[in-house]
Symmetry: C2
Subunit: 331 residues, 2 copies
């Protein structure tokens, strides 16, 4: 296993939108550890992933700015003199995007354009890494899904993330910014939202398991792949550091594929006890379900040398351990 060249980030000035969220805060922690100067911007909207506890222990080494990516005045100040922008802020709930499509549009689509315009005006030298999602593919035609698969999103969130992703590529290609996009698959780990299923269903499973409630699995036969958050952070940093990433879109993907039923069983096994109930999909979820999905992540392997390093069982085990200690901060 080769080492990633993350020592290069020492002393770099980094801005993370969504920096108090699940992935953003894990990224902030890593960057602080690497000696970077981190500014975390987060709206702390209660329905989203931001949580001040996510930076517990590094509070004095991260600058926090509470503001919304829809606020371009705030951003035009914050992006100045930054070497890297990790653009992670987003509305993540597929269901919320169907009930309130305009909010999803404002955050995942319009604000992305405005962030890029701000960078063009105020800091054209910044390198940008955007987190997109497997949701842009919709229901796969074939598996594993590679970057040549058509984009046919099945919910408003997927459409707006698709537009947000392409604004990044466009500003790279036409306006001379440097931007890369990663299409994340299901990401798990400490600091994910467990209060509800807005970010990931697995958070709710872990909460219910730890609280002695039944783990409720919808459907159950759907195949999925997972990345432990540290692996996703590796990919974000590699994309930031490599010129070969600019203007490109890469899938992330897990090292194995598992059905949701088997995943629930694995979680119960690791925890030592627990009950699982397999139920039919609620109707409004079934209508936007994508069936089986897992990614072909070989492109980012070839171009950036990334591969997931934390096996699923290990990732689940670390995640459970974290919430055993800290669940009260996430309820």
């Amino acid at each position: 296993m080769t080492d990633y060249p993350f020592g290069l980030l020492r002393g770099k000035r980094v801005l993370i939108t969504g920096g108090l969220g699940f992935i953003g805060s894990n990224l902030a922690r890593r960057l602080v550890h690497l000696g970077a100067e981190v500014l975390a911007v987060d709206s702390l909207i209660p329905e989203y992933g931001g949580n001040l506890f996510n930076i517990a222990g590094i509070e004095d080494r991260v600058t926090v700015n509470v503001s919304d990516v829809r606020d371009e005045y705030s951003l035009s100040h914050l992006v100045r003199e930054r070497d890297y922008l990790f653009n992670l802020a987003g509305q993540t709930s597929h269901l919320d995007s169907m009930h309130d499509p305009f909010t999803d549009l404002e955050i995942n689509c319009r604000a992305q354009l405005s962030i890029l315009e701000v960078c063009r005006r105020c800091n054209p030298a910044v390198k940008i890494v955007f987190t997109s999602t497997r949701q842009v593919y919709g229901r796969p035609d074939y598996l594993p899904v590679d970057e040549q698969h058509l984009l046919r999103p099945v919910d408003v969130n997927g459409i707006n993330k698709m537009a947000g992703e392409w604004y990044h590529i466009l500003y790279n290609n036409v306006h001379g910014l440097r931007a890369a996009a990663l299409r994340l698959t299901n990401t798990i780990g400490p600091r994910m939202r467990v209060k509800d299923a807005r970010q990931t269903f697995l958070g709710v499973w872990i909460r219910d398991l730890l609280q002695g409630r039944e783990v409720e699995v919808w459907g159950g036969d759907q195949l999925r792949d997972f990345n432990y958050v540290d692996d996703a952070v590796d990919a974000l940093l590699l994309a930031a550091l490599s010129d070969d990433a600019s203007g490109r879109v890469f899938n992330l993907g897990g090292d194995s594929v598992i059905s949701l039923k088997d995943l629930a069983a694995l979680l119960v096994e690791i925890h030592g006890h627990g009950r699982i109930a397999v139920r039919d999909f609620p109707d409004e979820r079934r209508r936007i379900d994508i069936g089986d999905y897992y990614a072909d992540a070989s492109l980012i392997g070839r171009v950036l040398g990334w591969a997931p390093r934390v096996p699923l069982r290990e990732g689940l085990s670390r995640t459970l351990a974290f919430y055993r200690d800290h669940l009260q901060h996430y309820l």
Copy 2:
């Protein structure tokens, strides 16, 4: 040549957004001729395609409502009790979309979502046909481009049209509306904008030719296909009438392929005289140019029985004849 079943449109109540524009007004004229009841909505924004002269001769058989598709209150009134909505209003200039990306977003992306929400609330039974564009494909990987080609738009307009198109498909699939989208290639004919290149470069060529100025060709080797507007109108009507079109996206395409240089020469030949100057692309246009493009339109042929019927030479000839008589109304 089989006849299309357009007699079915007699007495139908039709709403056309962009109804005073190039394609919208040609569609309105056809529908009036077929005995439909036509409501044309248009913002008449000077930079866009709307022109009251476009309905000269049918003024008393079309209801005109001047309003903007960004105005959802107006639309929630206008969509009621309509059998068909031809959703044609859009910002069409690729270059303007790069200079003012937010206006393009508001019209081509946000307003589309709002039109669909309005239909869902106020008239879920309406059948919607949306005009998308070849621009969503970006620079082709292969030719002719079919609907399996990846969408990789190279300008803001292409990204927002892509989102607007997918909102239509989504609302069809999830919310039970019926909507189809057509990806138009270059469309030519009477009533196109000739004042500038915001809608099509060919309008400017025709204006310059008729005014005795040099026809300025940028690049010149790019291959393109063209549809005469009556053929595009046929496709819109077929998509409206067929249940097989719902939830689907179809390319339109011409019956032949021609380089821009040869097209200019053909135009001069039909006109009888004229001068052509081939020039390098202006820099800001080159950066968003898509190179060669022509469509594979066989899918809509198989599913809806559409084919272009007006050959390029004939279409150019009719278009020139129209502007010889009416140029003053378009300057």
